[in-house]
């Protein structure tokens, strides 16, 4: 093997150096030389290589316990290496989060200011201009929760589709399990969400809802949502590392998803959906809608009291919820009385059938989280050695 390499032509030091190297290109074209097998060093090779010892190189490597450098570690070993770098992941997330606002004069204040401005816009459009209740009590709090919870998933998706490309310098400089990167970026978004929670709590209290023990339920719900986001981030990170088309298309996909996830309306009680139970079920089983509905139910007592299925079914009251009687003087007296009736009527949705019962929402929320996390992690791990290629 090495004999043919070292025994090539003589020195390549002839005055016509250029023509000498010309021969190096050889007849072997791209595909040809790749398929030529281990013995590429044929007669056309002019190399003088004394760094190849006698014998089979693969066996030599095996003899000294050397392993292929671009090999993918086994799954368990991979998980161990990620765990070993847990402080890198958290440190990375915190540092990136801090650095995100260094260019702005107000700095970290934007972390609070951005969500607040968002709330102001949504309040202006949906609360004042459209003056819509959309059949939901405490609509502003309902809307704010939907927007921020969806925002967590949305930002995780969009950032993770670019993470492998954006981090190429780091990937090419140091070896570490690449799964640390999507993990770190979802963690950044989680930190942002925790800050936004202050705004959510403030809104819930501002509309007059009480603090209850059920607020604690947001911890398991956000855990499920985070696991789901991490799994999806793995999938999108791998797709995004291959071709840029993903990050171009993703904003449109995510916006469609935003409208389909009941951020601005209640899937459970929206009148037009009530006539299409199959569509309503499909929308409600989507993970974003599940986590949003669960959080609303945990934070807003008015949601618990008006959630379909939370009270015994009553055909009359349910029909009255969807089709309240028009104002008549002999039935309601003053207009103020009619407004009070309508406000009470919002809670009659509790007497309708649930699109998806709360128990099932919890079950499917957990299923989505576990399935997407496992599938996404394995999918990402299988391409571990490819990410440096760019």
């Amino acid at each position: 093997m090495s004999g043919s390499r070292t025994g090539g032509r003589g020195q390549l030091s002839a005055p016509g150096g250029l023509s000498g190297r010309g021969q190096l290109q050889g007849p072997g074209s791209l595909g040809g030389s790749v398929t030529a097998g281990a013995e590429t060093a044929d007669g056309a090779d002019a190399s003088q290589n004394t760094m190849v010892p006698e014998g089979n190189l693969a066996e030599l490597a095996k003899q000294y316990g050397l392993k292929p450098s671009a090999a993918r570690p086994p799954l368990i070993e991979y998980i161990k290496r990620i765990w070993q770098r847990r402080f890198f992941i958290t440190g990375f997330a915190t540092a990136q989060n801090m650095a995100m606002y260094t260019e702005a004069r107000l700095g970290q204040v934007w972390q609070i200011l951005t969500p607040l401005l968002n709330v102001a816009v949504y309040y202006l459009i949906f609360g004042l201009i459209l003056n819509t209740k959309r059949g939901v009590p405490d609509f502003i709090a309902f809307l704010v929760i939907g927007v921020f919870i969806f925002n967590f998933t949305q930002r995780s998706f969009i950032i993770s589709s670019r993470v492998m490309f954006d981090s190429l310098p780091l990937i090419r400089a140091l070896y570490f399990p690449r799964a640390c990167l999507p993990l770190g970026y979802v963690l950044i978004e989680l930190q942002q969400l925790v800050i936004s929670l202050i705004v959510i709590f403030a809104t819930v209290l501002a509309v007059g809802q009480p603090v209850t023990w059920s607020w604690l339920l947001i911890i398991p719900i956000l855990l499920m949502q985070t696991l789901f986001n991490v799994g999806a981030a793995f999938i999108l990170a791998r797709f995004g590392s291959g071709f840029d088309d993903v990050s171009q298309l993703l904003p449109f996909v995510v916006r469609t998803w935003f409208y389909a996830s009941g951020v601005m309306f209640s899937i459970q009680t929206y009148n037009n959906l009530a006539q299409h139970p199959v569509i309503a079920k499909v929308l409600q089983y989507n993970p974003a809608a599940i986590y949003i509905t669960l959080i609303r139910d945990a934070l807003l007592r008015s949601q618990q009291q008006s959630m379909p299925g939370s009270k015994p079914f009553s055909h009359d009251l349910c029909t009255q919820y969807y089709h309240p009687p028009p104002y008549t003087a002999q039935q309601f007296g003053t207009h103020a009385n009619y407004e009070k009736f309508l406000a009470r009527n919002l809670f009659n949705s509790a007497h309708c059938h649930a699109v998806v019962a709360m128990n099932n929402l919890w079950l499917f929320g957990a299923l989505w989280a576990v399935v997407i996390l496992v599938v996404g992690f394995i999918f990402f791990w299988r391409a571990e050695v490819q990410y440096g290629r760019g």
Partner: protein, 260 residues
């Protein structure tokens, strides 16, 4: 002879380059291509390494020389396990650290954060990072700049800090891709001592440099690459360097009598 550390067995590396000309690149031509179900003509394959084999041993410092585009950096990336091989295999013992000129780490973050995160990424514990931190900052010589974002650093400062970070952990394999070129004379002295230390600890160092004096002073073996193939490789460092100089039309290096 010492144990082999890096075994490169008939390595081929192929890059796929997107957007490499050939088409006017308008939306209309792209649509037409999709309708005709053609592959993107702009995808070009670049066969950067074509059948390279060699063995490097513990304590070796291997210089890699060749003209621009001859595959030197690609070879280092493949050894570091950062580029998958098209054919053939690179066998190593553990992961190497690759130092390149443009390998900025996290440029929005301060030098201080880069040191900490870089060390954690390499798998150090927090305790180890705390112990090594003053040493790393001292070695890099960036001084007060350590509290500024890395994007404000000069090229030389950046590469000094990166070298300090990557060489902080005793890697068995250190791959240096022109990373010393931008440093000043003092830093080159320091880094040469660090490379010698690593070799003494039975590590292997690969050095890509256009400064042939640097290769000759640091390396005991040299690989001359041309168009992805080895032209000459071996331990006759001055001989191979002279052959390379002659082939590229230059004069042999004038060496001081002590070295010659």
């Amino acid at each position: 002879m010492a144990d082999p550390m890096v075994v490169v067995d008939d390595l081929h590396v192929v890059y796929r380059v997107y957007g490499a000309g050939g088409d006017r690149g308008t939306a209309a031509t792209a649509m037409l291509r999709m309708l005709r179900r053609q592959r993107r003509p702009s995808v070009r394959e670049v066969h950067a390494i074509r059948g390279v084999s060699f063995v490097a041993y513990r304590g070796d410092a291997v210089g890699v020389i060749g003209r621009n585009g001859s595959g030197k950096s690609t070879l280092l990336r493949a050894i570091a396990g950062l580029l998958p091989a098209e054919q053939g295999t690179v066998y190593t013992d553990g992961h190497g650290a690759l130092l390149g000129v443009n390998a900025a780490l996290l440029e929005d973050l301060t030098g201080d954060k880069n040191v900490i995160l870089g060390c954690l990424a390499m798998g150090m514990t927090r305790q180890e990072v705390k112990e090594r931190y003053p040493q790393i900052v001292d070695f890099s010589g960036v001084g007060d700049f350590v509290n500024l974002p890395m994007k404000t650093y000069s090229t030389g400062m950046g590469s000094r800090l990166r070298f300090a970070i990557a060489s902080a952990k005793s890697h068995d394999i250190l791959l240096v891709d022109e990373a010393l070129a931008t440093g000043d004379a003092e830093f080159r002295q320091k880094s040469r001592r660090r490379i010698d230390e690593l070799r003494a600890q039975a590590g292997t160092v690969f050095l890509v440099a256009h400064n042939l004096a640097e290769v000759e002073e640091n390396c005991n073996r040299v690989i001359w690459l041309e168009k992805g193939r080895i032209v000459q490789a071996g331990d006759d460092v001055p001989g191979i360097i002279d052959a390379y100089l002659r082939a590229s039309g230059g004069e042999p290096r004038v060496r001081e009598p002590a070295k010659a």
